[in-house]
């Protein structure tokens, strides 16, 4: 197999640069990168104008639902959704049933990922046994089996002493504690952001302080223990202020934001007329928060963009708003959302945006990052910046059709995904 992509934009997140050029791949290996590469023989030639090549796209926050909730998603369908979304590796959250809280569960994920055979999947283990928030899990055993971080995501560790121990203990292995920051007393029974929209719609609100108070606590615990802290799905400006302060003080903290918090606000929730596909935790916040999140992307206060892909069955969403499950199916819309709203609308460079979806999460998880270099396996995504397409949830590879973006026209879609030398997605099809 020989392929030449010419006159394409090449992105080098690890070096904070991008340049125009040609890239030549032979038998899955990048053989040459340069200008005006000449070739002959039987070769696939792709016109790279208006296209971009991004290496090692990584989504560090994915719910694959297996085991326990296979009707929502499986490792197989989640893998398909991921490569269709342009990702070459993902990390999966442990809030399954049973939860990923011991070595055998870590091994189970690796086995299933191998069987699906499309994408690298890195398991995240729980912080606490059974995800109960009471006693820390066997982090050492899980780490040796390949766990790349620990998180009780979906729930926040309410007991501060337990989290202190977790940060202290996990630092032995150099892995991060990923915190879903939420004070459950403040957020209880809430469905949407605490504020004007909640008042108008008569829904219980989740105030920003439910998040920020825990972000603050976690930052101080990280400072106390020198453990590695990563804050998942930051949603409000107040949390960003705390993180900014912590980073200035040299405290060991990184954070992520989701595409849906960057693109949607509570106003969109209101306009949706109680569409449960807008129900997500943390909730869609205000315009002010949204602007702060984009600023955080621009000034690199935010390290990572991650989807928090949370697939649900239609039955979990076709119910009363307060009974609906939280979550948005995000793998297959992340790249076009980030290009449409980050690159085209907010004029943020591709390298800045994609660094937060490749190099940065790879560093936080300490997983392989394969750059665009000669003589390494092709592990990249070809994205067509000029391609405009309407989001059609019916065409998702994910079992989770729960997207608030159905019917939106977005610009800039992945058209080909290489994982470690193999084309796994091309022109809308999964390649086996």
């Amino acid at each position: 197999m020989k392929m030449l992509i010419h006159d394409v934009k090449l992105v080098y997140p690890e070096r904070d640069m991008e340049e125009e050029g040609d890239i030549y791949i032979e038998n899955g290996i990048i053989k040459k990168i340069g200008k005006d590469i000449s070739t002959n023989g039987d070769i696939d030639i792709i016109d790279g104008r208006d296209k971009v090549v991004v290496p090692s796209l990584t989504d560090m926050h994915v719910h694959l639902r297996e085991p326990g909730f296979e009707w929502k998603e499986t490792i197989e369908t989640g893998s398909m959704a991921a490569v269709a979304g342009g990702f070459t590796s993902i990390a999966c959250m442990p809030n399954t049933e049973p939860p990923i809280d011991d070595k055998s569960m870590i091994e189970f994920i690796y086995e299933k990922a191998d069987k699906a055979g499309l994408i690298r999947i890195y398991p995240i283990g729980t912080i606490t046994k059974k995800r109960e928030g009471k006693e820390i899990s066997e982090m050492g055993d899980m780490f040796l089996a390949g766990a790349k971080a620990f998180s009780d995501d979906g729930a926040c560790v309410q007991n501060s002493e337990v989290l202190r121990c977790a940060l202290e203990y996990s630092k032995m292995f150099g892995v991060s504690i990923i915190e879903h920051a939420e004070d459950s007393n403040l957020s209880q029974e809430g469905s949407i952001n605490w504020g004007k929209t909640a008042t108008l719609l008569g829904l219980k609100g989740i105030p920003w302080v439910a998040e920020t108070s825990m972000v603050a606590r976690d930052i101080f615990l990280s400072s106390l223990t020198d453990g590695n802290l990563h804050i998942a799905h930051v949603s409000c400006w107040q949390s960003l202020e705390m993180i900014k302060w912590a980073k200035e003080k040299g405290i060991n903290v990184t954070c992520e934001v989701t595409p849906h918090h960057l693109v949607l606000t509570e106003e969109d929730m209101k306009k949706s007329n109680y569409d449960t596909n807008t129900k997500v935790n943390p909730p869609l916040r205000t315009k002010e928060d949204q602007e702060a999140l984009w600023d955080g992307i621009k000034n690199d206060l935010i390290d990572v963009i991650a989807t928090d892909h949370a697939p649900h069955h239609l039955d979990d969403k076709m119910v009363e708003y307060n009974l609906a499950e939280f979550g948005i199916s995000g793998l297959e819309t992340a790249v076009p959302l980030i290009i449409t709203y980050g690159y085209f609308q907010n004029k943020i460079s591709l390298v800045k945006l994609f660094k937060k979806m490749s190099y940065n999460p790879a560093k936080i998880l300490n997983i392989p990052y394969i750059p665009l270099e000669e003589n390494v396996p092709a592990n990249f995504t070809l994205i067509d910046l000029s391609l405009e397409k309407t989001v059609d949830k019916g065409k998702f590879f994910s079992k989770g059709k729960n997207t608030p973006f159905h019917g939106w026209t977005l610009k800039g879609w992945p058209i080909m995904t290489f994982v470690e030398g193999r084309i796994v997605f091309k022109e809308g099809k999964i390649m086996r």
Partner: protein, 315 residues
């Protein structure tokens, strides 16, 4: 001039126009005339079927709707469930679709979850009237309140409406706030700060925690029911203190206008949010509200399900 309500659903006052509210008020007057007759029945909705579907306990709203339907000769069935659809094992949507398949023309829905009428309206073809959803809206209550005020005051604008109590959890308050704003009257809300919803000022209402300030020069004193379980959640310390600070008594009422009206959506907690002396006083129109509830609901059923616009409702 509009003659009918051209809508598939009445979900809230928020999406009604002033013109529509006025039409409903006028039509309610004609309906009230029917209620005064010995034979309180007209054939207007003969052959139409209305289902009251109540997922929350209710006596007045449900009987009010059922009587309204019967006086207009519609057939009614009533489904009551104190348990949520999920606990029953059947989803809400399945229950409603099942009933719809039997030929229901209109559902009157009450549910503890905000947004249920919106959700149903998106998914079924039958018409829907919201009879109260969670903390969202209770449009027919606000309409009967407006009608009651119109009968007494002969106008709907330039009034000062004081809404007293648990505004946070009250769908009645939200619907009334929307209604009075659209009609050109001003609203002040008053209650303990833990029971005033955030950003309520954005609805163009004044907020005060002082009952005397709220009552000063008020034309309408609208007292909300205090749900007693709110105290258990720690939102206020005791019923005694609540009554002391926010209970409407004859002494507190002196601040209001001489011809003020006292209203309450019921059921009342006498001695808590309202003293018996006030509830049973000459300025209280609480019983009138109940009578008018039937008239307003007849008007709505007629306007949404009835025949052509030029037909006389009394024929």
């Amino acid at each position: 001039m509009i003659f009918m309500l051209n809508r598939e659903a009445l979900i809230g006052i928020e999406d009604l126009t002033k013109e529509e509210i006025e039409l409903i008020v006028e039509t309610s007057s004609s309906m009230k005339d029917i209620l005064k007759r010995t034979i309180k029945k007209v054939p207007t909705l003969r052959g139409r079927t209305i289902c009251t579907l109540f997922y929350e306990p209710s006596t007045r709203t449900r009987s009010s709707f059922e009587l309204a339907a019967k006086y207009l000769s519609a057939d009614t069935i009533s489904i009551a469930s104190s348990t949520s659809s999920v606990q029953k094992g059947e989803t809400l949507l399945d229950t409603v679709k099942t009933l719809e398949a039997m030929g229901i023309d209109m559902f009157i829905v009450r549910h503890s979850a905000s947004g249920v009428p919106n959700f149903l309206a998106k998914n079924i073809k039958a018409k829907i009237i919201n009879a109260g959803d969670g903390m969202h809206e209770h449009p027919t209550q606000a309409l009967l309140d407006v009608f009651t005020v119109y009968e007494k005051k002969k106008r709907l604008d330039n009034l000062k409406v004081a809404i007293i109590g648990d505004v946070f959890h009250s769908r009645v308050a939200r619907s009334n706030i929307y209604a009075w704003e659209k009609l050109g009257s001003s609203v002040v809300v008053c209650g303990p700060s833990t029971l005033i919803p955030p950003y309520v000022q954005d609805l163009k209402v004044e907020v005060t925690y002082d009952l005397d300030t709220a009552l000063e020069d008020a034309d309408i004193i609208y007292i909300l029911r205090l749900q007693l379980e709110r105290q258990k959640k720690g939102l206020f310390p005791s019923l005694r203190e609540y009554h002391m600070l926010f209970g409407v008594t004859p002494e507190r009422l002196r601040k209001a206008k001489k011809d003020a009206l006292v209203m309450h959506p019921g059921p009342m907690n006498r001695g808590v949010e309202i003293s018996s002396e006030v509830a049973d006083s000459i300025i209280s129109v609480i019983n009138e509200q109940v009578t008018n509830g039937v008239a307003v609901r007849m008007a709505l059923l007629y306007l949404m399900l009835g025949g052509k616009g030029d037909e006389d409702a009394n024929s």
